[in-house]
Symmetry: C2
Subunit: 580 residues, 2 copies
């Protein structure tokens, strides 16, 4: 039976998220947090308990923190600080705030989002599967951010026979986060580009019984008997990635046959790489699977900027960037064209990552170089790739190219705050109470653009005067702060001022009200009272001593920089995508 009224929930709403894995939940959580009317459906009747998702990279931990969720992630997950290939740091990203990877089983990651969503009064609807999706072809409808141009039919699987189990919903946007075999992607006719490889791997999660000393480090074992990767996990659990050969698992027709391989057999294969050390499971195997390494990326990440795919569905890693853009459009703050930057930014990153992954997998799966195999992979090649892999996958290296929201013109005025990259973590001290703050904690994902006014030494009268003049000019009705704000500046922008003068005098300097709307908005580049953190921020960021304005996007990436004299360039930056 079908009914189109809201028996199951609102029949018309802002965003439908299909799939409640990490990507879908991260997206739904961010949208809900921004006050967007969102529903999430998932085909699984229950949340997952074990296995599946892998390491959470340093940049992703920063993203968790921007939603206030890092505390729990760090408490529940395992931390990988050291990689045993050469006993190097696990991630080669020295600017990372959290210089390690966290491993936590997928159920644990999902629970962090589910609990936070539940605190906001929102649940995942399950088991629910979409059975059809239609996007309007009406140009006018597509251009109106308030229209509901997408019709989706949802089937609720746990409804008793004879009762209404199907509903028709209308959404402004759809986010397809329904995994590698994405129904949304296929229904929208989006192809995957790239190929499967011949590399077949087994994965086993268990409490190991071993004399291998590095079992609590991320380790790659690269031997003539096969390769193996160790990923330590929460509690005493370790995950092994075990390289397999065709004969182990491929059936006559060339397909992987899971029945040919069980977890005990996988451990036997691993045992050859571990030799002369022993490896076995202490108790039961917690989870296992087989997979063929594939490096593929979706040809498009959206349909008319109305249906988006994220996560495994398009093979990108961090689905975060798109959410605040969607919020801006839904609030009527930004033009719908802003959404084109989602595909532009994320697809490039996904492709770079895939290309790298391809090279790395080949190296990793290849035989070591020996007397007999002169064409094998040398230990040095392998180590180098292992290091580079850490840097690349940490997410710290994400660098968005110039676009409407990435304006690199005045980079010279904040040399090391690379425009298009996330703001470097650093500690500044709040002027009014000398409390040290990690700047990333001042840049939460709250859908607002942050305007960092590096005011220079405001204790110096000439500089203070420059700052006062800047405030006077930026405070005019035609300046972006007033022009794009309806009720208050703080609704869309958060202005933070960071002075470089004497900490004890800045608080009494006459910093203009527009640059410190509240006592908590004024900071100083200095050490905390116990000299444990902070200081040297202007130099670290490469800030012009005469000051600079840095615009930070809601996702924590630097959008543009301007010297005081060029503050009108910021008006132009916002005018290109914000609605007045």
């Amino acid at each position: 039976m079908t009914r189109s009224c809201g028996r199951f929930g609102h029949a018309a709403f802002d965003v439908l998220v299909i799939g409640a894995g990490p990507a879908g939940l991260m997206g739904a959580h961010a949208l809900r947090r921004a006050g967007v009317n969102v529903r999430v459906v998932d085909q699984r009747p229950h949340k997952v308990a074990a296995g599946q998702a892998d390491g959470i990279q340093p940049r992703t931990i920063e993203v968790f923190q921007s939603y206030g969720l890092a505390e729990r992630l760090l408490r529940e997950g395992n931390q990988m600080h050291m990689a045993c290939a050469g006993r190097a740091p696990d991630v080669s990203a020295p600017t990372a705030r959290y210089p390690f990877e966290v491993t936590l089983h997928q159920g644990g990651i999902e629970a962090i989002f589910l609990d936070s969503m539940s605190d906001m009064g929102m649940q995942v609807e399950r088991p629910v599967v979409p059975s059809s999706i239609e996007v309007s072809t009406d140009e006018a409808e597509l251009k109106d951010p308030q229209s509901h141009p997408i019709k989706v039919v949802l089937k609720h699987l746990d409804v008793p026979e004879g009762k209404v189990d199907t509903e028709i919903v209308r959404a402004k946007f759809v986010l397809g986060a329904d995994g590698a075999h994405s129904w949304v992607r296929k229904s929208c006719g989006i192809a995957m580009e790239g190929e499967q490889t011949d590399f077949i791997w087994g994965v086993v999660d268990m409490v190991p019984d071993t004399d291998f000393p590095d079992i609590r480090n991320r380790c790659a074992i690269h031997s003539s008997n096969g390769s193996c990767m160790i990923i330590p996990r929460e509690g005493d659990v370790a995950r092994l990635y075990i390289q397999l050969t065709d004969t182990d698992v491929v059936d006559g027709s060339g397909r992987v046959d899971k029945s040919k391989m069980g977890p005990q057999r996988l451990l036997e294969v691993a045992g050859k790489s571990f030799h002369p050390y022993k490896i076995a499971a202490k108790d039961t195997i917690e989870w296992w699977t087989l997979y063929i390494i594939g490096q593929r990326v979706a040809s498009k990440f959206s349909v008319n900027e109305r249906v988006f795919i994220a996560g495994d569905a398009c093979h990108t890693h961090s689905p975060k960037a798109g959410k605040s853009k969607l919020t801006h459009v839904l609030r009527g703050w930004a033009d719908i064209s802003l959404l084109k930057t989602y595909e532009f930014e994320r697809q490039k990153y996904a492709r770079d990552l895939i290309n790298f992954d391809k090279k790395f997998s080949a190296l990793f799966s290849g035989k070591p170089r020996t007397e007999e195999h002169q064409d094998g992979v040398s230990h040095e090649e392998f180590l180098e790739a292992f290091q580079t892999f850490g840097l690349f996958t940490s997410g710290i290296g994400v660098h968005y190219q110039p676009s409407a929201i990435v304006n690199t013109e005045h980079q010279a005025h904040a040399r090391n705050l690379i425009i298009g990259q996330r703001v470097l973590p650093h500690v500044f001290v709040r002027a009014s109470d000398a409390r040290p703050f990690e700047i990333q904690d001042l840049l939460p994902s709250d859908a607002r653009f942050k305007v960092l006014v590096f005011a220079g030494d405001v204790v110096e009268p000439a500089q203070l005067q420059r700052v006062q003049q800047l405030a006077e000019e930026m405070g005019r009705p035609e300046g972006f702060l007033k022009r794009f704000s309806k009720r208050s500046v703080e609704e869309r922008f958060d202005v933070l001022t960071i002075a470089s003068g004497d900490k004890l005098k800045v608080i009494t300097a006459d910093v203009p009200a527009i640059f410190r709307s509240h006592w908590s908005k004024l900071f100083v580049d200095g050490r905390d009272m116990f000299k444990r953190s902070g200081g040297g921020g202007y130099e670290y960021y490469g800030i012009d001593p005469r000051g600079a304005i840095v615009v930070v996007r809601p996702d924590g990436y630097v959008g543009m920089v301007a010297p005081f004299e060029q503050h009108k360039a910021i008006d132009g930056y916002f005018a290109s995508f914000l609605a007045a």
Copy 2:
């Protein structure tokens, strides 16, 4: 109506806590966490919402952390880093892990404990008042830790007329945490020693409307027009302590008459100290009170080591130290005589604190020295007292004197880990996965003694051999590890080993199993992989390079130190109070 069976709860149980303010809740929470059968009653029908308790000192934050509760405290409270008298750090305790005070209203502090207790399935029973308490005089009964020598009659105030509202309970121990006017203290005939002073103060909590630049710092304003103290609180709230004169508030009979003084009048008095700055309340006054400074301390802290008083009831500040002792006795691990150390340790601290407070209050309430008042308090005297006050009240300075549980004999082998003081915070790196740990996080309040084996450079064969020999000797049946353990060593002791050798080699050194019962128990004195923390711990703690054993009490205080050769002295230490 009265009934003695367990209509309201168990009629016979381990510990009855009377009073659910911060002291009572901290105690009840710790006992419950240790698995003790405890009931808490409070006369108030609801938990408090605003005002009352003041700053949480650095050492108390460390204590919250030892129960896993510091995260929430730091998130919800305000932090005071700077004191404006001279713009100095707020606390003069450079070794503090959290070098600041946290302010959070009493309801917020209590909620942290209440929620954690609720997670453990425990609620405060309220409104309930005790109406009589009797402690047995039978010597044999008092000496038996399994006896229930205390009879208390409890009246439940919310029971409808005609229903049973009274119960008779029997407890092994009673903790009286029922405030300055403690019914438990009075019922047990314990006198308060000391006197009231003439200093009368008003207290106001509000969002201030002021141009005073230091309103977000702990400030003392000391002027001829009167003294005033500012304590910034959570959100935008500030608390003012305002010195009053007799004429403001004392009635004809010499008593404080609250009707003579309202919050607006208090702000007028404060305004004189603030001059030439303005001070007013932005909205409503959140809370206010009047009080007379009194420095008094109870003559006894317990009756027969069966009834204890804590918090304002005896005027000590941290009620923590006694809890793990009670747990040991209740579990049959320690002799009941161990409880005598509670009064010994805490009463001395309370008296020192009270004596200091007396001097400080006099200084603070005194007039400034001027041309006319040559006998007034000079600015220098005032500043010095202000600094010393911070050091003393931070709690970091608590130093327990030698007793059964504080053995100072071998201090020289760990020069800077002062026996009787809490373990200095420092970061060590876990050998198996290079993850950095703050040592205080390895010393939770879990009722177990921690045995820190500073093993020296175990990569060096001669030192490793010494360690192996030590392990062999300490592992014998007559050694304390085996002698005082019934089921497993880990039930009563947590053995952690900290080596000083090369981080990358320690993991493969043959450190004996008794010194690393699990892969997570072996640490190295070194920097983390990104060189952000750790290193130099042996030097900072003053550890003998040949190694040392440090016994840490369950409350985080150093109990004793021994060189390897004197490990039998530790057997003697435990034998003096632990039951085999």
